[in-house]
Amino acid sequence: MTKYLYLFRGGDKRMSEMSPEEQQKHMGEWTTWMNGLAEKGQLIDGLPLHGDGKQVSKNGTLVTDGPFAEGAELVGGYLMVKANSLDEATEMSKGCPMLQFDEGHIEIRQILDLQDY
C-alpha cells in the first residue's frame, strides 16, 4: 500500500463560530471517521496545526511571522493514511466531517517512497 497525506483547509474558521454543543458534535463525527480508518488499518498518523508559525527564506536571513495563507487556505491539520491508489485515498477522504462546511477542503498528495520508482 502507498502512503498519502491529507491536508485540511478551511475548517478552523467555521469551528470558531460554533457553539460548545456543536463543537462537541463535530468532534464526535471526526472521532467516528478516524476510528473507521483506524479499524481498517489505514490510519498512520495525524494532528491539528497551531494557527501561528514562522516563514523562513533567503538562506535563513528572512524570517517572518505566521503562515501566509488566510482563513480558508490555512492548513488546519494533516493526516497520513495508507491506500492502494490515489482514487481509493480520495474516496476515503469523502467521509471527513470537515467537508460539511462550504469552505472546507482536503488536498490529497501521495507521499513518495523509493519503491515507487
Binding site: M15, M18, S19, P20, E21, Q23, M34, L47
Partner: protein
C-alpha cells in the same frame, strides 16, 4: 440522586464545561472581565475540539480545559498590560494539568455564586433568563434565539445589555448575605421556573432543543440543593413540579411530530423514574411549614401526571389546589387554567361564565380563544365554537399550533 442529576453530563460535556469554566474564571478574575473570560473559555474549547478530534480525550478533560483557559486569560491580560495577581491560586503557566484539578465541591460552590450573579437584582427577570442561558447553560446566541423563538439580532442585543449590567454591578462573586438570601433565592427560582416553562410550553421550535431547556432548568435546581441555605421548601417543590411535568416528555408528540395534549398522551410512556423522584422532592418540600406557590403547582402536576387515565383525573382535588393557587398568584393565566378544571366538574356553561372575568386580559391570547371554542363545542353550539376557533387560528404564532387548530376546524365544518 447523583446518578439522576448527572445523567447527561457526558452528552453535553462541552456546553457544561463552558459554564463551569466561565464560573471558575469569573470567580477568579472578577465580573468586570466577563468578556475576556468568555473569549478565553471559547478558545480553550476550540483547541480541545481540534485536539480531541485527532486524539483521545485526556482523562481529566475539565482540568485540561481549565489550564488552557487560564493560560489564555493570563495571555490576554499581559497583552493588555493589566497586572495580575499570579499568586492567587493555581495561576502560573508552568503547572501540570493535574495541578489544575479542582475538587468538585469547590466548582459547585463557584457555580452557585455564578447562578446568584446571573440573577443579580440589577437585571430584569428577562435579562436574568438570557444571561443564565448564555453563561450557566453554555448556549450560543443562535441557540438561545432558536429556543426562545426570537430573532438573533434581538437576542444578541438583549444579552449585551444584560452583560453590561453584569460587568458593572456584580463585582466580586459572593454568596448573598443571610439577610438577602430569601429575596435572592426567589429571583433564582423564578429564572429556573421561566427557563423550564420556556422549554415546556407547547410552541414551535425543535422539540429536542426545548427539552434541553427543561433539562438545564432541572440541572441548575439540583446544583442549588447542595447548599444548605438554598435547600428550601420552594426549591424542593419547584424540582418536584419540573420532574412531574418532564416525566411526560416522551408522550408529548406523536410519530409525525404533532403535539399531543394530556388527553391523548400514552401514559405508559411517562418516565417512571422522574415521577418517583418528583414524589421524593414533594415530600421533602412538605417537611417545611408554610405552603408555597411551587408546592401547589407541584401538587397539581402530580395529579395530572399520576392519574391512570385522563378521564380518571382527580378534578376535584385539582380544582381545590387551583382555588388556593389563585389566591397566592391571582394572574389571568392561572385563572384560565382553573377554568379548564372547572369545566370538567361543573360543565362548559359555568366555565364560560367564569371566563368573563379574564376576558379583557386574555382575549388576545390564542389559548383563551381555543378554550372558548372548545367549551362551545362541548355544548354543541357550533357557530360561536367555529368563530372562536378561527380567531385562535389567526392568533396562533407557530405552525404546529396552527396546524393543530386548523385540523380541528376541518372536523367542525359540517356540524350543526
Amino acid at each position: 440522586m447523583d446518578n439522576f442529576a448527572a445523567h447527561n453530563t457526558l452528552d453535553h460535556l462541552f456546553r457544561h464545561e463552558y459554564s463551569r469554566l466561565v464560573a471558575m474564571l469569573t470567580n477568579r478574575y472578577g465580573a468586570a472581565l466577563l468578556d475576556m473570560v468568555e473569549d478565553a473559555v471559547q478558545e480553550a474549547l476550540l483547541k480541545a475540539g481540534k485536539m480531541w478530534s485527532y486524539q483521545p480525550m485526556p482523562d481529566k478533560p475539565g482540568a485540561w480545559l481549565y489550564r488552557v483557559a487560564n493560560n489564555k486569560m493570563i495571555d490576554f491580560l499581559r497583552r493588555e498590560k493589566k497586572s495580575v495577581d499570579f499568586d492567587k491560586g493555581p495561576a502560573s503557566e508552568g503547572m501540570s494539568t493535574e495541578e489544575y484539578e479542582i475538587e468538585e465541591e469547590v466548582i459547585q460552590d463557584e457555580m452557585l455564586k455564578m447562578i446568584f450573579a446571573c440573577c443579580h437584582p440589577s437585571m430584569k427577570p428577562s435579562e436574568q433568563l438570557m444571561l443564565s442561558l448564555k453563561l450557566l447553560c453554555g448556549l450560543s446566541v443562535k441557540e438561545i434565539a432558536r429556543a426562545l423563538l426570537k430573532s438573533e439580532e434581538a437576542t444578541k442585543k438583549a444579552i449585551q445589555r444584560a452583560k453590561q449590567k453584569f460587568k458593572n454591578e456584580v463585582g466580586e462573586l459572593v454568596m448573598p448575605r443571610p439577610d438577602d438570601i430569601t429575596e435572592r433565592m426567589n429571583a433564582v427560582l423564578q429564572v429556573v421556573y421561566l427557563l423550564f416553562n420556556e422549554g415546556y410550553k407547547a410552541t414551535e421550535g425543535e422539540q429536542l432543543m426545548k427539552q434541553e431547556l427543561c433539562d438545564e432548568a432541572i440541572r441548575l435546581a439540583f446544583l442549588m440543593l447542595n447548599e444548605p441555605q438554598c435547600n428550601t421548601n420552594e426549591l424542593n417543590a419547584l424540582i418536584s413540579m419540573m420532574l412531574f411535568k418532564a416525566a411526560r416528555f416522551p408522550a408529548r408528540q406523536d410519530a409525525q411530530g404533532n403535539l399531543l395534549t394530556l388527553e391523548y398522551q400514552d401514559r405508559n410512556l411517562y418516565r417512571k423514574d422522574y415521577v418517583k423522584w418528583a414524589w421524593h422532592f414533594l415530600k421533602r418540600s412538605s417537611d417545611f411549614e408554610n405552603t408555597t406557590i411551587y408546592q401547589l403547582e407541584a401538587a397539581i402536576a402530580s395529579y395530572y401526571t399520576t392519574a391512570p387515565t385522563y378521564a380518571d383525573t382527580n378534578w376535584k382535588q385539582i380544582l381545590r389546589l387551583y382555588d388556593a393557587l389563585v389566591l397566592h398568584k391571582p394572574m389571568p393565566v392561572v385563572k384560565m387554567s382553573r377554568v379548564v378544571v372547572l369545566s370538567k366538574l361543573e360543565g362548559p356553561a359555568k366555565a364560560l361564565a367564569a371566563m368573563q372575568e379574564i376576558e379583557e386580559d386574555m382575549k388576545a391570547n390564542q389559548s383563551f380563544q381555543a378554550l372558548k371554542a372548545e367549551l362551545y363545542a362541548e355544548m354543541e353550539d357550533w357557530n360561536p365554537a367555529r368563530y372562536h376557533l378561527s380567531v385562535a387560528i389567526r392568533q396562533a404564532d407557530n405552525r404546529t399550533e396552527r396546524r393543530f387548530l386548523e385540523d380541528k376546524l376541518d372536523t367542525w365544518r359540517e356540524k350543526e
